[in-house]
Symmetry: C2
């Protein structure tokens, strides 16, 4: 257990046993983006074998695979490893959250609202996102209401995340770069895309009730 100083804000934050980052930003971000691209490519190619799926279906399946795996594999470890920042032999997932904490130190400080939102995201929304891939692929009647539900969960989580950051002092980033790149940038996809999908699903559901012929995609 070393007495290393940490790179987070506010500087008064106490993190006994903190183990400094061993990977660079590039070594953390590149594998995540690379693996995500591979997942998206695989889902796109595999779903292309099914003729009855439209391009929009296939795009949505790619998104649900990306977001579902992010929720389970990236956010899951954060939730269930409270000691991630002081592990002597940190693995990739510990390093991800030590890096991201430069944009929001509430992660490394285990702020309870952040842990609660991440817990709901990893445990409920992660598996539900993967179920959405199956629901779209097999044209289940619950496809739209499921997608709508997961989007609403993601949006509610973002609201709690941003509102509590504001109420708690809005001073959790190490520099403006990390504020824009991590706190705003990394989260913006989970505001914009769920808003678009929720709006689309809302419209499809309304059309179904008006008795219009709606495909369950």
């Amino acid at each position: 257990m070393g007495a290393h100083s940490h790179p987070y804000a506010p500087s008064g934050l106490e993190l006994p046993g903190f183990v400094p980052l061993q990977l660079s930003q590039g070594q953390i971000v590149a594998p995540y983006l690379g693996t995500s691209l591979l997942v998206v490519l695989a889902v796109w190619l595999l779903s292309g074998r099914c003729r009855r799926l439209s391009k929009m279906d296939r795009l949505l399946m790619c998104w649900w695979a990306f977001t579902g795996l992010t929720h389970i594999l990236i956010e899951g470890p954060f939730v269930f490893r409270p000691d991630f920042f002081k592990r002597e032999n940190p693995d990739y997932f510990d390093e991800v959250w030590k890096e991201y904490s430069k944009g929001d130190s509430r992660y490394v400080a285990r702020d309870t609202a952040t842990v609660a939102v991440e817990g709901i995201t990893a445990v409920l929304e992660g598996p539900a996102s993967l179920l959405a891939i199956y629901a779209i692929g097999s044209r289940k009647s619950y496809s739209h209401v499921l997608q709508f539900a997961v989007c609403l969960g993601q949006l509610y989580g973002c609201l709690v995340y941003f509102i509590t950051a504001y109420l708690d002092g809005f001073n959790f980033w190490a520099s403006p770069f990390y504020y824009w790149a991590y706190f705003i940038g990394a989260n913006s996809s989970w505001v914009v895309i769920p808003t678009l999908i929720a709006t689309r699903s809302w419209r499809k559901i309304c059309a179904a009730f008006r008795g219009e012929k709606v495909k369950t995609k």
Copy 2:
């Protein structure tokens, strides 16, 4: 500004300027239950004039009126009056939250997760609940997806509320009575009823996609 001691747990909680409760439990609970009963009765009777509404429609309209007005008129003042516990001439709404805080002192302590959840509930779910009354009454095609959305918001809020209470130490009630009556009892309606309505709306939406004849109620 007096230096009054407060009745909340944990006893170490500092509340400078706290003004003691002036109303009894009965004087706080009875007007809330009485007014709620009047609202429910009024909605039940008024909706009965419309022949095409089923009893279930009318029951749902009563619930949405009750929950919508609670969100706006009871939870709203808590969100936008951070000084409610130290106001020298407290009104009924200040007293409600000073009383409820005996079951969860995070209210009087302005815990940010609690304020964030209450803010979303008062500002978004309150008006949306009242819109649901109109949607049911006029058989709008968005009736079920709107009700589903509000229920999901209420359930997500309850999840954040209970998970953060657990993570923060689970010691916010003045006695077991207040734990069961306020923290568990008062919140249980917003777990049970949204679960039932969300399940019902989910089924109606699926039936609509299967092309079944579903009334938009």
